[in-house]
């Protein structure tokens, strides 16, 4: 599995975490975005995600490169789903390893923030 995946397949967080090389690392931070229900009081059964897949992979790969260039950060893996995702199910996951805890948590925050800002992926109405 490559470090960045954008596509319809389900997210297997355990498998992502097993992929991360822990040599010299003391911390692993993980972020998972799930389809929220209820959202602001409105019932949600699912969301549909559309992506400009090739550009999303390329943009997220650039973001991962920025994150792993930071001090202490080891590896960063990202997966974002496309298509229909049911309520309470993971639509996006970030796993980041680092020597120390704030490095891992900050890398995770950086990647999900930049992904939400730059990756061409949309929630689309049914």
């Amino acid at each position: 599995m490559p470090a960045v995946v954008v596509g319809p397949q389900e997210i297997d967080l355990e498998a992502m975490r097993r992929m991360v090389d822990l040599r010299g690392m003391g911390a692993v931070a993980t972020f998972v975005g799930v389809v929220r229900d209820p959202d602001e009081g409105v019932e949600v059964s699912h969301l549909d995600y559309e992506a400009y897949t090739e550009m999303a992979v390329s943009e997220i790969t650039a973001i991962v490169g920025e994150a792993t260039a930071r001090q202490g950060v080891g590896e960063v893996l990202v997966q974002h789903r496309t298509g229909r995702v049911g309520r309470g199910v993971a639509s996006v996951a970030v796993v980041a390893s680092a020597a120390h805890r704030h490095q891992a948590l900050d890398a995770c925050t950086y990647v999900i923030d930049e992904l939400k800002r730059r990756a061409p992926i949309w929630k689309v109405g049914g």
Partner: protein
Amino acid sequence: MSTAAIRVLLFATLRQQAGRSTVELILDEPASVAGCWERLCEQIPALASMKDTVRPALNRDYVPWEALAQPGDELAFIPPVSGGRR
């Protein structure tokens, strides 16, 4: 070069407005991304009002509106991404 085309990809709200996901623009010569947008809106007037909300991407990289598109390039106008609350 009269048959040289630029492929324009439409996503999300743009795709829904246009009712299609790709448009071919035939260019006689290289044109700015802004010029391509105008040509696109000539074909699909429903998109015209959306310019301020989109960001151009040429060959899968964000570019400024002044960037030059060449025949054979892949062009997209990226609607606001999911972003959402932090």
